[in-house]
Subunit: 218 residues, 2 copies
């Protein structure tokens, strides 16, 4: 036990408050390391080293690296989901709400690059059933986009030939890909990128009759 005297306290000595704190530290350190080296390239030992605890203390919170990844990926997914659901529930016609969701999701990705990278890249490292547990029945996340597009199409605001399913995957691709190239201080600001992308995405699915009307009134 002498080696622990000057190091971190053994798990049994951690009270609830500092325990919660340390679990959050553990998740933050792991998220950062996974984003830098990938899940496969990171070990529990390295994660423990980053926050100055013993590897054994990690097992107080998680039985395995996979359990840690699951918790991290689920929390990031749920944050993203809450954000788009909140935006989709605002006032406006379905196309205005879709535009707001697109802007808000793009900004969220740009401002949370590390977390988004870990979610999008490392989700695949979980077994299929644990991935499904996070994405929930019927892809709740994708469903927010799909439902708005369906609603907008029913209202004549989206071209009849657009498939809401394919269009939602098309939208998510262009916005999710932001994490691969967007860099603060190099690229234009998040708002500028988000507005341009949201404009292009909504233009891309509008029926031409709406364009005609808008062009006439401008």
């Amino acid at each position: 036990m002498s080696s622990e005297a000057t190091g971190p306290k053994p798990p049994a000595a951690i009270d609830r408050m500092s325990g919660e704190l340390r679990k959050a530290d553990l998740q933050d350190a792991a998220t950062q390391l996974f984003s830098e080296r990938g899940y496969d390239g990171s070990s529990l030992q390295e994660i423990a080293d980053r926050i100055g605890i013993l590897k054994g203390s990690v097992y107080y919170y998680y039985q395995s690296k996979e359990d840690l990844l699951f918790d991290i990926v689920k929390a990031i997914h749920d944050e993203h989901l809450e954000n788009v659901r909140m935006l989709a529930a605002r006032a406006g016609d379905p196309m205005q709400r879709l535009h707001a969701v697109l802007v808000g999701h793009a900004i969220f990705v740009c401002e949370n690059l590390v977390k988004t990278t870990v979610f999008l890249r490392e989700l695949e490292r979980l077994p299929a059933e644990r991935q499904a547990e996070i994405l929930r029945p019927d892809h709740a996340y994708q469903r927010v986009f799909r439902d708005l597009i369906t609603e907008a199409r029913d209202a004549g605001l989206v071209a009849a030939e657009v498939s809401p399913k394919l269009a939602s995957l098309w939208i998510l691709g262009s916005l999710n890909w932001l994490h691969r190239w967007y860099r603060p201080h190099v690229t234009s600001g998040p708002e500028q990128v988000a507005e341009q992308f949201a404009d292009q995405l909504t233009r891309g699915i509008k029926p031409s009759v709406l364009w005609e009307r808008q062009a006439r009134s401008s």
Copy 2:
């Protein structure tokens, strides 16, 4: 040496023809394994096992797993680049050529899911300078899309407010993301997905005056 008597020939005995063949087998097996387990989760031993050669024989071709990944990723990148350059060089106005490139790239991704997955996912596992060596000066691949958009914008076929750089990243995101969700026999055929995506992407950057003209003539 007795263990090799019934196994593969030692490297020195491989003649040029079968050597080339085996190198291609090695790359194919590695590509498949990387797509299934990720680069970090695959070992040279497992790659050698898949094609029934000794791990030592791998070193006849490659000094390291990284060198093997470099060759694979570079070859896939160059195939993609050749495809879009060939499509971009066809006849037509810049918007028609852009549409053809978008359709052709989307189909290429759908029909080469394993390769595209390894390229897009594992490129990041190479050191920065080797990534740059593949992407070449000024991102030759992205440049094909960017140049067509610039040309189309100069001809008044793309809205003046569209940034060719951001638009090319927007386009590549939605098309590259196909490798994450497109599955043959589950999703609509590659041509259907490719046409819908190309239509939406080109609509998304057109100036509204063009829409007006098209709506009137239809």
